[in-house]
């Protein structure tokens, strides 16, 4: 089954004519993702190696039936692009762009809550459903199809965990990067809910980090609603308060958002927390009986 993206995905890429946009759109396409369109205002009618480019999302949807959007435009244009995709009725928007102003994210989040569109990201590596579709910048070659669902705030760390699992013989249903920004469009809880309902997924790996209280909320949710085993990892035990550790959202404010508090919250609800990425993989292997 996988979650969010699969063989039915028809992808439209905003910013497809930019250097990075072209590279990753083609990369996703070569993986097998059905990339049906690109959007770049003023370049409607052109194409990028056979992928037709439209001036607006509405045109792209009308002409191609696109049902997932990937946003790859610079930060100052990203909020507008997400809102345009939602306005065009696209139910899933995946925003890779890093560095979007926080107030833009707040306005977009609040508005999308009132529409039928789900946002994944911003500042995320995208989603990979191995063997089905890859939307974003996750290097797909390290992952194979399997029964472990991964949801993560960070990119490279996710690859690391996924790769360790793959070396232990396990594959993934889907890998969902929700991004490292203060206001992610999709939360741990949202994705865990999807994995819980997904036939293919037998184990859920949650990769969190310092800042905010998304992991604590997820712990409560897991205790109440999740029957599948969950293994967690939290990065940032050594992060000092008040410093932004790379991700805009990764900051300990006063005594809030520490890795210790998050790990304790998860363990209090019966979620096993690995202290290193290797340990996470080991716990997963133990649970799945590899």
């Amino acid at each position: 089954m996988a979650v969010l993206i699969d063989n039915d995905t028809k992808l439209v890429v905003s910013g497809i004519t930019g250097r990075e946009g072209t590279f990753h759109a083609l990369n996703n396409k070569s993986y097998g993702t059905n990339v049906v369109a690109g959007v770049t205002p003023g370049k409607g009618g052109q194409d990028v190696e056979g992928i037709p480019v439209f001036n607006t999302f509405r045109d792209a949807v009308a002409q191609t039936g696109a049902n997932v959007a990937m946003v790859f435009v610079p930060p100052r244009f990203a909020a507008d692009s997400i809102l345009e995709a939602a306005d065009a009725g696209i139910p899933l928007v995946i925003c890779i762009t890093e560095g979007i102003p926080a107030h833009d994210e707040l306005r977009v989040y609040t508005h999308l809550q009132r529409t039928g569109t789900r946002l994944v990201g911003p500042n995320c590596p995208g989603i990979l459903s191995p063997g089905k579709a890859n939307v974003g910048i996750i290097p797909a070659s390290f992952f194979k199809e399997g029964n472990v669902g991964v949801v993560s705030r960070s990119g490279t760390l996710t690859y690391k965990i996924g790769n360790t699992l793959a070396q232990a013989g396990f594959g993934n249903s889907s890998i969902v990067g929700i991004g490292g920004d203060p206001v992610p469009g999709t939360s741990f809880i949202d994705v865990i809910e999807l994995f819980q309902a997904d036939d293919q997924t037998e184990l859920i790996v949650l990769s969190g980090e310092i800042g905010g209280d998304a992991e604590e909320r997820a712990a409560d949710y897991i205790a109440e609603h999740v029957t599948k085993p969950v293994v967690a990892y939290i990065a940032g035990f050594t992060a000092p308060p008040g410093k932004t550790m790379g991700h805009a959202g990764a900051i300990v404010s006063g005594s809030k958002g520490t890795a210790v508090a998050k790990a304790e919250a998860l363990e209090a609800k019966g979620v096993r927390v690995g202290r290193t990425p290797t340990e996470v993989a080991e716990i997963a292997v133990e649970i799945l009986g590899g």
């Binding site: 100052r76 707040l106 760390l157 940032g236 790379g246």
Partner: protein, 384 residues
């Protein structure tokens, strides 16, 4: 980006929020001139991005020119909790104060909405109030699309127990504070104390403002408030090179790609008894040049006794990283040992490039744990 008190007050003033009149000064002479312009008595206030400066002697009242000179001479250059005072703010001495309130707006990530807080327990550390007497703080989330409504001000003021005659002016103050928060794209605006004068007027006697770095492109005036002299020299160097670097207290330099992986690397190093000297994310798609540049930043911290490279290649290619390291060795000739762990895209090529180059004192590792253990040993002067 955190603003200094006076920068925050100037921002407030632009949005109509009442603040005492004042002038900034970087030298004693400037300070004395400013004091004469402002009139006596005036306050001489250290401008540092840390709380508790009052207790540390960073705020003095001057009743005449001599006192202004003495006060600014004492304060300029003072060290407050590790922050050197480069600037003072000369301000009309606080008018008679009847009450001290607290008001703030924070970007509440959990609720995904601005959170306004108001309390009559001003002048104290609000976290202490929150612990000891949480009912003394009235709180309210504002719908970001609806914005601040008059009733928000009334609700907060009545719930905080503010005198009836001040409900309207305090509400208006909060409305302006919210306007500032939104217009300037702040992550925090805090006024402590928000004072009430005998004339029943309100004003901001302090200002703490944190702006969103990601939004500075829309606020060029605010972007100019960044003061590089305030920053740690390594952080400044990294900032200029577009690298994400955070200075830490230890002696093991760390370089990785991706914020989560770097945080994780710090944790694993600490797990094995080491003390990281920094967080450095070379970013996605790091090219050789960026790696060289990053090594230079790490080594400019002379506390560093060993360096750990932990790369998981995705967009970043391990061969590029290896080449960057070789280039760094050529130009920088480092004297400390390196441990390099390359995994992911082109890892085989990268490892081969390193092996062929046989750089002096560069060790490799197959796993993150092994790499961490090695670098901890090397930093302690032991064999890897």
């Amino acid at each position: 980006m955190d603003l200094l008190e006076y920068q925050g007050k100037q921002l407030f003033a632009r949005h109509g929020i009442p603040v005492p009149d004042g002038r900034p000064a970087r030298t004693v002479d400037e300070a004395v001139a400013a004091a004469k312009e402002i009139g006596f008595p005036c306050a001489v206030k250290a401008q540092v991005k840390i709380g508790g400066r009052g207790k540390a002697g960073g705020i003095k009242i001057a009743n005449d020119e001599d006192e202004a000179r003495a006060a600014s001479d004492a304060i300029l250059g003072m060290d407050i909790k590790g922050f050197t005072v480069h600037e003072v703010w000369i301000e009309t001495a606080a008018p008679q104060i009847e009450s001290e309130y607290y008001a703030s707006i924070v970007f509440d990530r959990g609720a995904k909405a601005p959170l306004i807080m108001l309390s009559t327990q001003g002048g104290m550390d609000i976290e202490e109030v929150a612990d000891s007497n949480p009912d003394a703080i009235a709180t309210l989330h504002v719908d970001p699309l609806l914005g601040f409504q008059d009733f928000h001000g009334r609700r907060l003021a009545f719930e905080a127990g503010i005198d009836a005659d001040l409900v309207r002016p305090v509400g208006a103050f909060l409305h302006q504070l919210y306007g500032t928060f939104i217009a300037e794209e702040a992550l925090l605006v805090e006024v402590n104390p928000l004072i009430v004068t005998p004339e029943r007027k309100v004003a901001a006697l302090d200002a703490k403002v944190t702006l969103d770095d990601n939004a500075l492109f829309r606020h060029p005036d605010n972007a100019n408030l960044r003061d590089p002299s305030d920053e740690d020299p390594q952080e400044q160097m990294a900032h200029e090179r577009g690298l994400t670097y955070v200075k830490l207290d230890g002696d093991i330099g760390i370089l990785g790609n991706g914020a989560g992986l770097v945080m994780s690397t710090l944790d694993v190093v600490a797990h094995y008894g080491g003390a990281p000297a920094n967080f450095l994310d070379a970013g996605g798609g790091s090219k050789a040049e960026a790696i060289t540049s990053a090594v230079e930043v790490i080594l400019s911290d002379d506390k560093v006794k060993a360096v750990l490279f932990n790369i998981f290649g995705g967009i970043t290619r391990c061969d590029e990283v290896a080449n960057g390291l070789i280039e760094a060795f050529k130009t920088l000739d480092p004297k400390v040992p390196f441990v390099v762990r390359l995994d992911g895209t082109n890892d085989v090529e990268g490892r081969k490039i390193l092996a062929d180059a046989s750089l002096p004192n560069v060790h490799t590792a197959a796993t993150m744990d092994e790499a961490a253990q090695k670098v901890v040993a090397l930093a302690k002067g032991e064999a890897a």
